[in-house]
């Protein structure tokens, strides 16, 4: 069950912070050093990008002030040592741009399109950054926390207000 095997990788010079969450190792780098870090990790043996995505840390009463609103997540795996490593990058709300990783890891191509579609984070250098899941004329980015869940009002439902408004406002 536990995957807490701490070795290698974290010796990297760009690592700003590191830790273990529920047995998963992670490191944090800055946006500027993301590409260099990913390249170094790939050379180190982390050949497989399992997924990349984003998390919206919009402030809530529970967690009032995140350092930045968006966080990018890159989950990497070393197929030989079977270690996993998560790379985290903060992305500010007023400048939601990150460098593309699709040149390094091929699966990032679609993942970044999805992240653009769902969170509105642009990826510099991506060859084909268009919406992937939503219709091309769709407005808004659905997985942002201030985007309402939508759908129709359900009478007598306890969750009805929650669903029609963004989760934070309810």
């Amino acid at each position: 069950m536990t995957k807490a095997k701490s070795r290698a990788a974290t010796s990297h010079k760009h690592v700003e912070e590191e830790g273990v969450s529920a047995g998963d190792r992670w490191i944090r780098v800055s946006r500027e050093h993301l590409v260099a870090t990913l390249r170094a990790l790939q050379a180190e043996g982390y050949k497989s990008l399992l997924f990349m995505s984003a998390v919206d840390h919009l402030a809530t009463p529970v967690r009032p002030s995140p350092p930045e609103r968006f966080e990018l997540i890159y989950q990497l795996r070393n197929l030989d040592t079977r270690e996993e490593l998560r790379v985290r990058v903060w992305v500010p709300e007023d400048d939601p741009v990150a460098p593309t990783a699709s040149e390094i890891y091929a699966p990032a191509g679609w993942d970044e399109r999805e992240t653009w579609d769902m969170f509105g984070i642009r990826f510099d250098g991506h060859k084909d950054l268009v919406r992937i899941l939503m219709p091309e004329d769709w407005e808004g980015h659905p997985l942002r926390r201030d985007f309402p869940v939508g759908g129709e009002t359900v009478d007598f439902s306890e969750d009805h207000e929650v669903w029609q408004t963004a989760p934070e406002e309810a």
Partner: protein, 407 residues
């Protein structure tokens, strides 16, 4: 060069090995019956030779990840079922494992064994449907009937253990929904007895069938390096000769206790992926036999009143049980802050669930790493240079489920 509204660039320059004439852009789907759902492909053809494929997805985008943010932790299980609808139990398991690791509980051994049994049954039923529909598309009509016959048996077992045929929501954080009944064990014993014979029957019909071989051997080649580079998983990578199966390489839910082999084939073509899945049928039956014989006694849920409802008997005698029951069904439980990634080997490859909790009773973010989404990216690579008719075989053996791709 000209650009169409779909974003496809059409080159009118003669390509290498060009047959002559103009390149033709053909739309394929999203309602074409051989695309396994609502996949749309924009195919660029040179005569009948494929020069470019652009999958256009999203026609089944369900907003599952957003929906999960609006639901409480225990409600989310129901949504995971409908994500990859051919392997609902694997989706349940990945989500349950992620939540359990965040909470810091481990399900009891009997629950883990029941999970393995149900997951392997699901794998068999998923491969049955894959084999039935893929061979139907390539002209082997009777396979569909044979395969659905076995799938029907598995669905009857699902119904016996959980009360529902397809979307069982059987595996949930903390354990499983209910213990198996006597009748279930009888059905399972009967099934593992008969299934190897049925797999022989499939093989009699297909493995040496010249038409089947002409349609699949050497078609849709994917090398092991490309499979890793493109992030493919499951039979897509095992069919290319790389023995990577999470059940073996990074065991979960007690898979390390069972003796089975990773189904590997070297050739990397559609036929190899077919053989791979046939082997998986047999390995799954092997696991089922062992799990049946060695199932431990004991509880099927963690003893954690905050996560799971108390037993019915206790509700009549204990005030505390009533309070827990009430709290659980009105407010749910909260999960400690943190994030976790849990992955299982679904019939299609690595199915992962990345969960972020902010300490409240609803998830902050649930991201599914779906095998089909990643495997579909390899489609262009596999289809390039082959004939348009082979596209059906390639899509078929990639076994993409559009619910899994679009989420």
């Amino acid at each position: 060069m000209s650009s169409s509204p779909t974003g496809v660039t059409i080159s009118r320059e003669p390509a290498e090995g060009h047959v002559g004439g103009e390149l033709l852009t053909v739309n394929f789907g999203p309602q074409h019956p051989s695309t396994h759902g609502v996949l749309r492909l924009v195919v660029i053809l040179d005569g009948e030779v494929i020069r470019g494929v652009r999958p256009v997805i999203g026609y089944l985008h369900t907003g599952i990840e957003k929906q999960m943010e609006a639901l409480r932790w225990q409600q989310g299980v129901v949504v995971t079922d409908r994500h990859d609808y051919l392997s609902p139990l694997h989706n349940n398991l990945a989500y349950a494992m992620a939540v359990e690791r965040l909470v810091g509980v481990e399900p009891p051994p009997r629950a883990q064994a029941l999970r393995v049994i149900m997951c392997e049954l699901t794998r068999i039923s998923s491969h049955c449907l894959w084999l039935g529909t893929s061979s139907l598309e390539l002209g082997a009509m009777s396979m569909f009937m044979y395969c659905l016959r076995e799938r029907e048996t598995v669905l009857a077992m699902n119904e016996e253990i959980s009360g529902y045929r397809m979307h069982t929501s059987y595996i949930r954080p903390g354990g499983v929904m209910a213990d198996a009944t006597e009748r279930f064990w009888d059905m399972l014993a009967d099934f593992v007895e008969k299934m190897p014979g049925h797999v022989d029957e499939y093989e009699d019909l297909l493995t040496n069938n010249p038409i089947w071989k002409r349609r699949t051997v050497g078609i849709g080649y994917l090398s092991a390096e490309d499979a890793v580079r493109l992030g493919a998983s499951g039979p897509m990578v095992r069919g290319s000769g790389l023995p990577w199966d999470l059940r073996k390489t990074m065991p979960y839910s007690g898979y390390e206790k069972y003796d089975f082999e990773i189904a590997v084939e070297e050739a990397g073509d559609c036929y190899a992926r077919y053989l791979c899945r046939i082997k998986e049928f047999r390995e799954s039956v092997r696991i089922l036999k062992q799990a049946m014989a060695s199932i431990p006694d004991g509880p099927i849920n963690v003893d954690e009143r905050k996560m799971l409802p108390p037993p019915r008997e206790e509700l009549e005698t204990s005030m505390e049980a009533v309070i827990h029951h009430f709290k659980l069904f009105t407010e749910g439980y909260s999960v400690p802050s943190g994030d976790v990634y849990a992955a299982v080997e679904s019939p299609r490859g690595e199915h992962g669930c990345y969960v972020v909790s902010d300490g409240t009773h609803k998830p902050r973010r649930v991201k599914f790493r779906s095998a089909s989404f990643v495997n579909l990216q390899a489609l262009e690579h596999m289809a390039m240079g082959s004939m348009i008719a082979d596209m059906i075989a390639i899509i078929g053996t990639a076994d993409t489920v559009l619910g899994d791709v679009d989420r």
